[in-house]
C-alpha cells in the first residue's frame, strides 16, 4: 500500500466520523430547543399568578416531553451503541438540562425526588449502560443539583406570592438532598463544583424560613395549611 493509498483509506474513516457527529449535533439541537420550551412553561411558576395552576403547567411540560422522547429515540440510531462515550460530550449538557426539567416537574407534582429510573422513563432511555443509550449517573446528579438551585429561587418567589408554607417544605427537601450528596465521594470536578453550590441554596432557603419564622408567618401557615 503506497502512502497515498494509505491516506485515502484513512480519509474514509475520518469522513464517517464527521458525518456521525454532524447527525448527532442536529438531533441534539432540536432536543435543546424542546428543553428550552419546557423551561419556558415551567418558569412561569415563579410569577405571582403562576402558583395557582401548577398542575396544568406540569401537564403541558409532560406533553412536550413526548417530543423529547421522539428525539432521544432518533439520537440512539445515529451512532454505534458501544461508542456512547466517544460522543458523550455532544449530549451531556442537554441530558442534564432535561433531567433538571423532569426532576422539577416531578417535584412540583409530588414534592419528591425523581429517581434515575423515572427520568430515564420520561426521556425514554435506559438506566443501565448495557441495555442501550442510557442516562449517565453523573449527568443525573448534575440535573438534580440544577433543580436544587431552581427550588431556592422558588422558595423566595413563593413568599412574594404569599405562599408561606412552601419554603418550609422546600427547606426540608433540600436538607434531605444535601444529606444524600454528603454520602457521595465526589471527585469529578464539574459535579463537585455544582455540589458546592448546593450549600448556598441550603443557606438561602434557611434564611427565607428564618424571615417567615421571626415574623410569625411560618407558624400561622402551618396551623392554617396542615397539608
Amino acid at each position: 500500500m503506497s502512502v497515498t493509498e494509505m491516506f485515502s483509506y484513512i480519509q474514509g474513516f475520518l469522513s464517517a466520523e464527521q458525518d456521525i457527529r454532524e447527525d448527532i449535533r442536529k438531533v441534539v439541537q432540536i432536543l435543546e430547543q424542546t428543553a428550552r420550551e419546557i423551561l419556558t412553561v415551567l418558569q412561569s411558576v415563579h410569577q405571582p399568578s403562576g402558583f395557582k395552576d401548577i398542575p396544568s403547567k406540569c401537564q403541558k411540560a409532560r406533553e412536550l416531553f413526548c417530543t423529547v422522547r421522539t428525539k432521544t429515540g432518533e439520537l440512539k440510531t445515529k451512532f454505534p451503541a458501544e461508542q456512547y462515550y466517544r460522543y458523550h460530550e455532544h449530549w451531556r449538557f442537554v441530558l442534564q438540562r432535561l433531567t433538571f426539567l423532569a426532576a422539577f416537574v416531578v417535584y412540583l407534582e409530588t414534592e419528591s425526588l425523581v429517581t434515575r429510573e423515572e427520568v430515564a422513563k420520561i426521556l425514554d432511555i435506559e438506566v443501565d449502560r448495557e441495555k442501550g443509550f442510557h442516562l449517565d449517573i453523573e449527568d443525573y446528579l448534575a440535573g438534580v443539583l440544577i433543580m436544587a438551585s431552581e427550588l431556592s429561587r422558588l422558595a423566595v418567589n413563593s413568599v412574594t406570592s404569599g405562599d408561606y408554607g412552601r419554603p418550609l417544605r422546600i427547606s426540608n427537601f433540600i436538607n434531605e438532598l444535601d444529606s444524600g450528596f454528603r454520602l457521595l465521594n465526589l471527585k469529578n470536578d464539574p459535579l463537585r463544583k455544582r455540589y458546592d453550590g448546593l450549600k448556598y441554596d441550603v443557606k438561602k432557603i434557611e434564611e427565607v424560613v428564618y424571615d417567615l419564622s421571626i415574623r410569625g408567618l411560618a407558624k400561622e401557615q402551618e396551623t392554617e395549611g396542615d397539608k
Partner: protein, 267 residues
Amino acid sequence: AGQKADDCVNSDSPVIGAFKVFQRELDTKHDKHERLVKISRDVTIESKRTIFLLHRVTSVPDFENILNDADVKLDGVRQKIGQIAEELRGEDLHQFHRAFTPGIQEYVEAVSFHHFIRHRKLISLEEINARLVFMKEDQTTKGGGEDVCAGPCVLTFQVTPTDYLLGVADLTGELMRMCISSVGNGDMDTPFELSGFLREIHDGFSYIGNTGPYEVSKKLHTLRQSLGKVEDACYALRVRGSEIPKHMLADVFTSRAAHLETDDGIA
C-alpha cells in the same frame, strides 16, 4: 511628506502602481472606520449619561422633567446615529458593523430604559428603528441637482436584531439598579413592577437560549443574577410589609403609623 518617500520607490513598476491604488482604497476604508468608531464612542458616552440621568427618577419627586431632559439627550444621540447612517450610505452596513455596534447597543439600552420608565413596556425593534429615520432637506453635497432623490431625501438606520438583544440584555442591569434604588427610596410599587418585567425578559432570553449569538449567551448569567437580586428585593418588601397590620394593632403608636401609611410612602 509622502512625496519624499515616494522618490525612493520605482514608480514605473506596475506593482508600485497597483499598491498606490490599494493605498487609496484601504485609507478610504480605514478613515471611514475611524470616523464611525468616533461617532460610536460619542453615542456610547451620551447614552451612558442619559442612563445616569434616568436613574435620578428614583430620587426626585417630579420625574417628568428628567424624562424630558433625557429625551433631549436622546435626540442628540439620534442625530449622531444619523451621521452613522450618512457614512453608511451606499455601503454594506455589515462591513463597518464592528465599528459602531458598541454605540448602538448602548443607545438601545438607553432608549429602552427611557421607554420603560415612561410606558412600563419593552420598546420593540420596530419602534426603535422608526425613530431612526432621517430627513436630509437639501442634497447639495453630492451632485448639482436632485439627482439622488427627488425632494427631501430619507435616510434610515436599521438596528440589527442582535444589537437590539444585546442592548436589552444590558437594560436588565440598569433595571436591577433602579429596583435597588427604589427600595432605598421607600418606593414599594416599582420593585414589583420591575420584577415582573425583568422576569418576562429573562424568560424571553431563556427561550432564545444559545441559538442567539455568542455574546447574548455570555450575558445570560448576569441577567439571571440581576433577576435574582430583584426577586430578593421584592421578597424582602413582602416580608417586611407583612408586619404592618399586626404590629400596628399591637403598638402603642398606632395613630402615627397609620398616618405614615396614608402617606403612601415611608420616611
